[in-house]
């Protein structure tokens, strides 16, 4: 039964891109390709990169740690299957360019594990102490799987300066095309709820909201049913709007509070965890499994068999797309993530990381004529970018300040407050890459402040 739900929790600004969820939303999460080789990136998170702790030629077991770091803000990486370390070399990374990775060759044809995991009926999170939960999360190498990749342990560990009281589970999935979180909520509601309870216990939050957009009534129903009469975890139905799943926007919509500009949610006592992360946490704490696989949506008009696949982290995009069948179209664009914030990649050997929730293959038709030709016209100051900016900035002024190399001016328009959601570029009639200019400006500023190499 599908119930009609209407969420009125929202934020100011935002856009309504075509959802395109129908391409993959009815595809259950299936095992991904049985690959012969994976490249496990040593830096899949925000924070200190890992150092390889295995030698070339060494044998590794499934779930064995292959990279770790002593830094606090970091997360270890693990091998998804039993095999042999082929080499430790550089690999394409969507953000970092070339980045070190441990390349592991499978010992045998290893089918990807699909742990169908159901917590016991008498699941009780108080069996684990908060410290044990944090340690298990750290050992499993769990990072924010919604896209940011911030080490989860660092995030949920209680902090005396910033006590956390409210936990928000992010099940919005506001990006077009992506459906992996939706499928997780449908298929593994109990696992996610178990993870939520564990996070709640570990972080000391007193209440929790499960935020889901109102275009996913089935997920709302599944989660509500799994929650039963839990008083402390409530489902918060939010309006379908991009970027509803953005941490700051979600907090604003659910709690009507603003995270200070340049600040982080714990400053106002809030913790936001993605549903995939919650599921991984339950898996890690209860069964001790490391984060070596994740659900990835492969979608887009150019994909023959779009769907949601349970993929070994480190699988190359090329292998995954071959598995799903990509129609040979003229000049497709392969995007890691959704079309609004995802990163276009050029190297098909780029491996899937812990934060890659989707691969979207766009054709020229979706990208649009002007955009695929890269044709930009003059800004007519129509103000659409100001209307949609969820952070209430003046995108066109920032972009043109960066274009004119006036970083001081750009900063006076609060360049650093931009969350890079892409709404401004999306609505721009002149097709100006506003978000692109802003991102570039941020890099320039970081270089100026010597926080980034030239």
């Amino acid at each position: 039964m599908v119930t009609e739900v209407q969420g009125n929790l929202s934020f100011r600004g935002g856009v309504h891109p075509p959802e395109k969820k129908e391409l993959a939303c009815d595809c259950a999460i299936e095992p991904g390709p049985a690959v012969k080789q994976v490249a496990v990136m040593l830096s899949q998170h925000i924070g200190a990169p890992c150092r390889a702790i295995v030698e070339k030629g060494a044998d590794v077991e499934a779930g064995q740690k292959v990279g770790d770091s002593d830094a606090f803000v970091s997360a270890p990486v693990h091998s998804p299957f039993a095999g042999k370390v082929k080499e430790i070399g550089l690999c394409s990374h969507a953000v970092l360019g070339r980045s070190p990775a441990v390349v592991i060759e499978a010992r045998a044809e290893t089918p990807p594990v699909q742990p169908l995991w159901e917590p016991d009926a008498d699941f009780d999170e108080s069996k684990w102490s908060p410290e044990a939960i944090c340690q298990a999360i750290r050992d499993a190498g769990i990072v924010g799987m919604g896209g940011a990749g911030f080490p989860t342990r660092v995030k949920i560990e209680p902090n005396r300066q910033m006590p956390k009281e409210t936990l928000i589970i992010n099940g919005c999935e506001c990006e077009p095309y992506i459906t992996c979180d939706y499928r997780m909520m449908l298929e593994r509601a109990n696992q996610i709820i178990a993870g939520v309870k564990l996070v709640k216990r570990a972080s000391g939050c007193s209440r929790a909201f499960f935020a889901i957009e109102d275009n996913k009534p089935a997920a709302i129903e599944a989660i509500s049913a799994a929650l039963g009469d839990n008083e402390l975890i409530k489902v918060a139905v939010v309006k379908t709007k991009y970027p509803q799943g953005g941490e700051r926007q979600l907090i604003n919509a659910v709690l009507k509070k603003h995270v200070p500009t340049g600040g982080i949610p714990p400053m106002i006592g809030v913790l936001v965890v993605n549903v995939a992360t919650a599921a991984a946490i339950a898996d890690a704490v209860v069964s001790g499994r490391a984060l070596t696989h994740r659900a990835v949506t492969v979608s887009g008009e150019a994909v023959a068999r779009p769907g949601n696949y349970y993929v070994a982290i480190g699988t190359s995009v090329g292998d995954l797309l071959e598995f799903c069948g990509v129609m040979k179209t003229q000049m497709p664009r392969i995007v890691m993530g959704g079309p609004m914030m995802g990163l276009a990649i050029a190297d098909m050997d780029t491996p899937i990381t812990k934060v890659s929730g989707a691969i979207t293959v766009l054709t020229n038709k979706q990208i649009g004529k002007a955009k695929s030709a890269g044709r930009q016209t003059a800004c007519i100051r129509c103000g659409r970018c100001l209307e949609v900016c969820p952070e209430n900035l003046n995108p066109t002024k920032i972009a043109h300040a960066v274009k004119g190399n006036l970083l001081d001016l750009a900063q006076s328009y609060y360049l650093s407050a931009c969350i890079e959601c892409g709404c401004c570029s999306y609505v721009c009639p002149a097709n100006i890459e506003i978000t692109g200019y802003i991102k570039t400006g941020k890099i320039f500023v970081a270089r100026q402040n010597k926080r980034m190499p030239q």
Binding site: T261, G263, M331, R381, S412, N431
Partner: protein, 342 residues
């Protein structure tokens, strides 16, 4: 596997909008006013609109060729400039004058600043101001609408001192008359009441596109519904105009006409919906739009009530255009989550 993968910044999709679609929307919004102009001023309306559009387009093309810039007529912005200029001209203006106005509007008002998006002043108003200053008599020679007098005989602003209300329609534009009434201490009241219906439908003397209030409201509503313009500037212009007019009326109801009459006559609505809302020359932020609109409406009323001209729209728009960069600087947006610390 693929040889032709392209990369670029996110987002990788965009709303199917372009400068051209925005401009076509504005042209659609102006369509009712153009039709009304055709109804009241017959062939003259179409001749002037065509002359202005063609002359503007040719000017932009020539400027592009001279400046070695790419072809830019495809965005249709120059068509909008031409139409707005034509709609703000007197019906019997000779075609050559309209052409001069269009050339000045586009060449000096727009292209000299660097083309679309870079101009400080509204190009159509630049062209109109040039004509008003250079060809004063031609620009104040009005015509009786064809629906009243099929010959569309000329009316002169000088010959106004008549007592019979029914003759007003053939004798002056509403605002010119009220101006003369102020000078000559005639009762403004009687005239305004007799003429109000005429200003609503458009059966009065005046510029091509400004006479029919109904057509302008239809067009403005279309733009508002399509969200091509936001309501802030029109609302600010109209509200401030009513307030200023009300002050005048309250001071001396025998000299100054009713506030509502000021809204329906002259270029007030054309300005509020189509001229002041030109995005290039108006402020970006909402607060700025309010200031800009209040400035336009207030200055217009000051000129109408106290100044030497019967109509003040073009000067007030140009004056406020000049301060738009300052307004933008004054009304900076503050991030939704407050200013960053340090």
């Amino acid at each position: 596997m693929h040889d032709n993968i392209t990369v670029s910044f996110a987002p990788h999709i965009s709303k199917p909008l372009s400068t051209r679609t925005v401009m076509i929307d504005v042209i659609m919004g102006l369509a009712p006013a153009m039709i009304a102009a055709g109804y009241y001023f017959r062939l003259r309306a179409f001749i002037l609109i065509a002359a202005c559009v063609i002359a503007s387009a040719v000017t932009e093309w020539v400027c592009n060729v001279v400046r070695k810039k790419p072809f830019s007529l495809g965005d249709f912005s120059v068509v909008v400039t031409g139409i707005i200029l034509a709609l703000s001209l007197p019906p019997m203006l000779p075609v050559w004058t309209a052409v001069i106005g269009s050339v000045v509007a586009v060449a000096i008002g727009k292209m000299a600043f660097g083309g679309l998006g870079s101009n400080t002043f509204n190009p159509a108003m630049v062209g109109r101001t040039f004509l008003a200053v250079s060809f004063g008599t031609l620009m104040t020679t009005w015509t009786v609408p064809a629906t009243i007098d099929p010959n569309m005989s000329k009316i002169s602003a000088e010959n106004i001192l008549i007592s019979d209300v029914s003759e007003f329609r053939t004798q002056a534009t509403p605002l010119a008359w009220s101006k003369m009434a102020i000078k000559n201490n005639l009762g403004a009241e009687t005239y305004a009441e007799a003429e109000f219906l005429g200003t609503v439908t458009g059966a009065v003397g005046g510029c091509l596109g400004e006479t029919s209030v109904i057509a302008l409201i239809f067009g403005g509503a279309y733009l508002l519904i399509r969200r091509t313009i936001s309501f802030h500037i029109p609302a600010a212009v109209l509200i401030s105009a009513v307030v200023f007019a009300a002050v005048g009326y309250w001071q001396d109801p025998m000299t100054y006409v009713q506030p509502l009459y000021h809204l329906t006559s002259g270029g007030m609505l054309l300005c509020a919906f189509f001229i002041a809302t030109d995005p290039v020359t108006a402020p970006l932020t909402r607060r700025g739009m309010w200031i800009f609109g209040i400035g336009v409406g207030g200055l217009t009323m000051l000129i109408r009530l106290l100044g030497g001209y019967p109509e003040g729209v073009m000067f007030s728009v140009l004056l406020m255009n000049a301060v738009t960069p300052l307004i933008d600087r004054l009304c900076k947006r503050v991030p939704a989550s407050g200013k960053p610390k340090s």
